[in-house]
Symmetry: C2
Subunit: 296 residues, 2 copies
């Protein structure tokens, strides 16, 4: 069977399911990052790899500085997802010989600029030639305090569900310029008891069910409450993906203080309560002008 | 200028030279691995990324299990190079949709088998489609005790130079089946004061000058003493590359005990004294049957 018929996610899941996991590993494939315990340390080691490929994640003519920015920020967004602090990055460039050196230098400038934004040190790199399109793989390690690590699975029945920012339409430009919500995520876990969190990379329609399922719950959301990017429709917010916003679950008793303090701390970034975690899933206002939108 | 005209190594060096390095980073690009200090820890954090690309590092028809093995072992060989212990691996697969799922599964079996050989946990992975040839990127983190980390730069004048195993002809099969010299490297630093070490990946002719230069010394070697793989000639030992053997510098007062204890501990693996570190470089017997061989 060809790979295109199976789907990468399904295959990866099946490949990683069989892996022998040592005792030190407390979260691996399936959550946003791998999280590892080191004996005698109060912090957990966090590891994440991600890649962008020409013609898949960016158009060949895209400004290379933006390609580099995106390649780094995708991996860092997964640190935001679990409230971890990224520290060190390794970069693998797989580049056809026909690309110009100025393209590669600009790409690196984007990678570097993105890393510097969050005080991440680029400590190593490899390059390889290829006879195909360019690919950039970024691996990041960092840490999270044991009591501030947030997985997808800690959601409780009745928790409010919040999203940061606006959703949908990322391919019109945001996917190349987004800033992962690391500052916001760290602020949240410093000041509130967040139960479950993730970053929205595949669209709310794919990601929310993952968080709910990991927490062994359903969700109740009101489609008309979704915060939309300018020009985006509800189905874009559900299905487009690449929002790189946070989705998190938090007890409703924190609702008012969270909303008040958020507004003071991040006046330019919207925070929206889109619904709650529930025993059974329920979607309000699912009949929308352009019709029914599937939650996977 | 096109990338093919500059060369990847030169470009990578120039890219990484500009990187801002935080105080925690004690070795980065240019040595075999990145090595990082964490406050209050006795061990150093070690990070390495590497990749193999279809048609560059392996033929398209190569057994995928061997491709996976090589992809993992290349990164682990750099741990051997500095006497570090690998612990966690992240894998990025960039695979064309037309490859079969059985190819990918066998590839993963090779990756897994190689990781298990050294108790490395594969803690995360990403897959991406590509319209080009397959590429596999492997990032590994681990540790080394502060007093056992061996860089390339610690060689002293008069040190003996040793290599493990036999050199040359790796492309006839060894490059897909080698076992990195981690056990040997760890044994060396447990029992001897090794001054400088690296793994031979680009051929002795390229790698030995790197070690000597990092140690600010020259080298004196006898070409006729080089341990040759079956069927290999001296120029193969110098230039083929992909030997994945250790090259190390050690005080001559350890020579006899090293050779005696090595023979007991690793009776099947040759250890050869090929020369010494010197103020000035000197190559004995450089006029060979098939002519002059360049050291870069």
């Amino acid at each position: 069977m060809k790979l295109r018929e199976v789907g990468e996610d399904a295959l990866l899941a099946s490949l990683l399911r069989d892996l022998p996991i040592s005792h030190a590993v407390i979260a691996a494939a399936g959550d946003d990052c791998a999280v590892v315990e080191s004996p005698g340390r109060k912090n957990l080691l966090v590891l994440k790899t991600d890649c962008v490929v020409d013609k898949i994640h960016f158009a060949s003519a895209t400004e290379p500085i933006l390609v580099g920015w995106k390649a780094m920020m995708r991996a860092l967004s997964d640190f935001a997802a679990i409230s971890a602090v990224p520290q060190f990055a390794l970069i693998t460039l797989i580049v056809p010989a026909a690309r110009s050196t100025s393209w590669v230098k600009k790409l690196y400038r984007g990678l570097r600029r993105a890393a510097a934004r969050f005080d991440v040190s680029v400590v190593g790199g490899e390059t390889s030639a290829t006879r195909g399109p360019a690919a950039i793989s970024v691996s990041v390690t960092g840490y999270v305090e044991k009591d501030r690590w947030i997985s997808r699975s800690g959601g409780k029945k009745g928790d409010d569900l919040f999203v940061t920012g606006r959703l949908g339409g990322s391919l019109r430009g945001k996917h190349l310029r987004f800033v992962p919500r690391i500052t916001e995520s760290r602020w949240l876990t410093k000041n509130f008891r967040v139960h479950a969190m993730m970053d929205l990379s595949d669209g709310l329609g794919a990601d929310l069910p993952r968080l709910a399922k990991a927490s062994k719950l359903g969700f109740k959301i009101d489609m008309e409450k979704l915060p939309l990017s300018p020009g985006a429709k509800i189905e874009n917010a559900i299905s487009d993906g690449e929002d790189y916003e946070l989705l998190f679950a938090i007890p409703p008793r924190n609702r008012e203080s969270l909303q008040r303090e958020w507004k003071q701390k991040f006046p330019k970034l919207r925070l929206t309560r889109i619904g709650s975690l529930n025993r059974k899933s329920q979607i309000a206002n699912r009949k929308l002008p352009r019709g029914y939108v599937h939650f996977k």
